[in-house]
């Protein structure tokens, strides 16, 4: 709780700095919230290109409308994710794709059943009349923790290993395709892929992540 207080206070300060024109503050908030914003956009659109555009537009909205942020109504993360949802819907509609709304959470303001989640975003991007938490805060927090832990693990990897694992997971390339793209011998790609996976495993299979993985302390072959 006390950490939460400090975190919120810090966020308010950073938003104020953005409102005052600090790109450093915008960068700091990007570092904190871009993974969550990108995750929402990617889940909704299933398209990395669109998700990246949504991220850019979301932080543009933060820059342009920082004064509209009201932490007494919503946390900054919730506010930004709400904007990302809205932008994702816009993109999907523009592309003629079926829009599947991702429900905003219940809470104050939910007494109006005719009001969709997106409807609760006014043209100025201020969230109104709606509660500001994800449907399952615990689940959302765990997902966020996993993303953060994996991001840390990726950041600490040697560049070669990070490259192959990103090409495999993000771009869905096979080892042969990675070898061809990078001009590396296939054996080298395989070795680096296994090392990268091993680092991710050792991080993910720590005690703190066992519950999420359903590992429960089961010993494997090794």
């Amino acid at each position: 709780m006390t950490e939460r207080l400090a975190y919120d206070a810090n966020e308010v300060g950073l938003v104020l700095a953005v409102a005052a024109g600090s790109e450093d503050a915008l960068g700091a908030l990007y570092d904190r919230h871009a993974p969550g914003v990108h995750a929402i956009a990617y889940r909704m659109t299933g398209d990395r290109g669109i998700a990246e555009e949504v991220v850019q537009e979301t932080f543009l909205a933060l820059w342009n409308r920082a004064e509209a942020f009201d932490p007494s109504v919503a946390s900054l993360g919730t506010w930004l994710r709400s904007i990302a949802r809205n932008r994702s819907v816009d993109r999907l509609r523009a592309a003629g794709r079926r829009v599947q709304l991702v429900a905003l959470p219940g809470g104050m303001g939910d007494d109006d059943p005719g009001m969709s989640a997106i409807d609760r975003l006014d043209p100025d991007l201020a969230v109104y009349g709606g509660a500001r938490r994800d449907p399952d805060p615990v689940e959302a927090a765990e997902a966020g923790a996993t993303r953060a832990a994996i991001a840390d693990a990726l950041a600490s990897m040697p560049d070669e290993e990070r490259t192959v694992i990103l090409l495999a997971y993000q771009h869905e390339l096979s080892q042969s395709e990675i070898a061809e793209r990078l001009g590396w011998p296939l054996g080298t790609v395989k070795t680096r892929t296994r090392r990268a996976l091993g680092r991710l495993r050792s991080m993910l299979e720590t005690d703190g992540m066992r519950v999420e993985l359903g590992l429960g302390g089961v010993d494997g072959a090794r």
Binding site: N10, A20, L60
Partner: protein, 309 residues
Amino acid sequence: MEHAEVLELIELAAVEQDGIERLAAGDTPEAAVVAGHLAGCEPCAAELARIARTSAVARDAIRELPDPALRARTLAFVREVGVDRSARAATDVAASLTAMPAVERAEPAAAVDVPQPAAAIAEHGVPVSASTAAPEAAIAPAVVIPLRARSRTPWWAAAGVAAVLVAGVAGFATGGALRPGGTGDEPAIAMAAAQTTMHIAEQPDAVHLALAPTGGDMAKGTVIYSPTTTELSMAVSGLAATPAGSEYACWVEQGGQRKRIGTLYVEGHNGTWAGIVEGLASLEPGSAFGVSLVAAGDSTGTPVLRGGG
């Protein structure tokens, strides 16, 4: 096929899209060998299950992570099409700070708040006149060091200089770091406040307090301070618009005396203040913090937020 060979094939398959499924299907000669091995090797089968779960979690999480290069592209995008806040650009401010002597920005000691008996304030909800105030409490004089000086001067060094300047002044001097008024320093001020908050939060003795509204307002806030570093930061949201000629003043109350420590920097309904406040190291139990709406340049006003105590 040996266990190690099977493990290698499992790991490589796990990283590829639908690789495990193809391996388990046994529809290639190599996959058929692996499938046969797994059918008779419980440890390897268990390892396959573990790797498959781990890889699935990693795949989902990594897919959702933004490209590292997106950060620079996003900031460039904002710079190109975002609203022009260049008049307040932090770089310009930083340049201006370099030209400003650190000690110039400490406000005159005359701005010290009027002492306020805590009991009377609690009873009436508004400040009482100076004539009814309790005698000055025996707390160490506090000095607020403008955060603008922090960019180039260690806080402890600046504190020493400022302490000399206000020596002999009882109570807390008004901070000059976080002030409204469009001086052009806003980016540096707000950023410094955020950085100070982060720095305080890292201190093992950091004290956190919530500020609650004294009336029916929607305002709320937080205070974090470190007795060791004597840094203090306040962040407030839900503030009513500042009436013309007024400002929000931050204060510390100890032993029945309320001392103004600075002026909130306000944007919209949010405000922040941070600075170095001597005397924090010796704060007594029951000390309180808060924010009051005061006439600009005045030292008394109506408390809108209060915490601790």
